[in-house]
């Protein structure tokens, strides 16, 4: 076993191992899970020259404080993250995202917080010494599956790293941009809602509520009025699906969502805008805009092309 490891001095609020997610288990009640912000996940692994689908540590709001033990390792952090490296001699280096750093024995990595966003990613050269569950390194905390016994990272535990030789020196100039609108496609129960409410839905601001986690994002704003029925026969859900319960406040399903739900679906966030929506922290205002399927498909092509172009700029 590798002698390289992190000791968790502070776990952070919601720090879990994630990868591209777990397919083909909706029928037993397991969602995809996986890194919420796919683009930042892919950039992290590319910068550190890992495989595209290697596991990373995803953190939300406050990240972990980790003490490195071993000879040497290379790390990178992506997202909008405020972090620092505290060297063994207590000197501090202010961290920059999208730039690799080398850690030596007893250096600490202090991931202080994500700024104007929610999720950030830590990738380590060679990856973590963890096992896949059903072909994926993703943790689904609610079902207690995935690495680390399906749990969040906890204080005092050790995280073992895979052994690798050599230091990595890579960087990328990249700024996470905001978009004016979150684009959606009409949902399968779009016509359950009143004309005025539909108008509100696509013209007024919604605010991301504090009741938001990897399972779902609750929004507050104008109440969405249902004219038909507030419950449907329970059926499958997917990430980005926006349900409206009887109270009129929309809920967007995120990567760890419950796989079955019985509230009407007003809309679905397009695949190209999912990362950006999920990165909106509580208190942030969002506006929705309806697009059609062809537009959504084209926007996703542009999104994947942009991701590739960004990764190609890594030096």
């Amino acid at each position: 076993m590798s002698k390289n490891s992190f000791k968790v001095l502070r776990p952070g609020i919601n720090t879990t191992f994630q990868d591209l997610g777990r397919d083909n288990l909706y029928h037993v009640g397991l969602p995809f899970s996986g890194a919420i912000d796919k683009r930042n996940f892919l950039i992290a692994n590319s910068l550190i020259t890992n495989k595209e689908d290697d596991a990373v540590l995803e953190f939300a709001h406050q990240g972990p404080l980790l003490e490195f033990s071993g000879s040497q390792t290379s790390i990178v952090i992506t997202g909008n993250v405020n972090f620092k490296i505290i060297k063994k001699d207590t000197s501090e280096i202010k961290g920059e995202c999208y730039k690799t750093y080398n850690l030596n024995n007893k250096d600490c990595l202090d991931i202080i917080s994500t700024e104007k966003s929610v999720y950030g990613y830590l990738s380590v050269k060679g990856g973590f010494h963890i096992n896949k569950f059903c072909n994926s390194y993703s943790t689904t905390v609610r079902a207690e599956v995935g690495p680390n016994d399906g749990k969040k990272i906890e204080i005092g535990q050790s995280i073992i790293l895979n052994a690798v030789d050599g230091a990595i020196e890579k960087s990328l100039e990249y700024l996470n941009s905001k978009i004016e609108f979150i684009r959606v496609i009409k949902g399968t129960n779009f016509d359950y809602f009143s004309k005025d409410s539909i108008k509100d839905f696509i013209s007024k601001d919604f605010i991301v509520s504090k009741l938001t986690d990897r399972m779902g994002m609750r929004l507050s704003g104008p109440k969405i009025k249902n004219l038909k029925k507030t419950n449907i026969k329970s059926e499958g859900l997917g990430k980005g699906v926006i349900q409206v319960p009887a109270d009129g406040d929309p809920i967007v399903m995120l990567s760890d969502h419950g796989t079955i739900g019985g509230y009407p679906k007003i809309a679905v966030v397009i695949s190209a805008d999912y990362d950006k929506l999920a990165q909106c922290p509580p208190g942030e205002k969002i506006k929705f805009k309806i697009v059609n399927l062809t537009e959504a498909e084209n926007l996703y092509k542009i999104y994947t092309m942009e991701t590739k172009n960004i990764i190609n700029k890594i030096r």
Partner: protein, 225 residues
């Protein structure tokens, strides 16, 4: 048969089998689900069967709605296999400690505890679907006498193992979870196993039978807390 196909967002196909929820419709959904899984169609990432819907998720980098719709529409699923289903026996303890909503059920049904328990354990149930939380089975149909609505205010935390009823259905909370079903007992049996070869004991199409255990037997089980 599939009555209508819509897109759910840009990366899923929403197949509607009609408005009625019954065993026949649900068996059609399950047959489609099993058949599509067997075919290993390129680009399909996940399939979610429910009472009367089948949602098929695909990888938008590899395929698109039109292509998957064409494939699904032209599937020949006329030879429905008589799926080999199994009967799963589940122990349930109805001790007052676990029967959180017994009073409510007694009042609505106008029956005593013993009668309610008998109504529940005197028949086999069909598993319509599994999900919401990992391994949670949606079972039906329960006897008309013990049917009632959900709680007006859902519980923030339903204990793991809770057995609940609502409308024509009953279920088992395989994990601690929020929920609004009327809780009348608790099963110590581990249903979501985490064994990749058989992740969950109860699958769509299976039959489930409950049998009553005492609190003493419950604590001996000790598989689940």
């Amino acid at each position: 048969m599939i009555k209508n196909i819509y897109n759910l967002g840009d990366a899923a196909l929403y197949c509607d089998f009609g408005d009625t929820v019954n065993k026949e419709t649900n068996l059609e959904v399950i047959n489609y689900f099993k058949d599509i899984r067997k075919r290993n169609i390129s680009g399909i990432k996940n399939i979610a069967p429910s009472y009367n819907k089948l949602i098929i998720y695909f990888d938008l980098e590899l395929t698109n709605y039109k292509k998957i719709k064409d494939i699904v529409q032209n599937l020949d699923i006329s030879t429905f296999e008589n799926a080999k289903t199994k009967v799963v026996k589940i122990p349930v303890c109805f001790d007052d400690e676990f029967a959180l909503d017994l009073e409510r059920v007694e009042k609505k049904a106008g029956l005593g505890k013993k009668e309610i328990v008998n109504q529940l354990i005197s028949q086999k149930y069909f598993c319509y679907m599994t999900g919401f939380i990992a391994g949670m089975p949606f079972l039906g149909d329960i006897k008309e006498k013990i049917r009632l609505d959900r709680l007006e205010t859902p519980r923030v935390k339903v204990p793991k193992g809770s057995v609940g009823i609502t409308e024509q259905f009953c279920n088992i909370y395989t994990f601690k979870s929020p929920g609004g079903w009327n809780i009348i007992g608790n099963s110590p049996k581990k249903i979501f196993t985490k064994d990749p070869t058989k992740l969950t004991l109860i699958n769509p199409g299976d039959e489930v039978e409950f049998f009553e255990i005492s609190k003493k037997e419950y604590s001996k089980f000790n598989e689940q807390k």
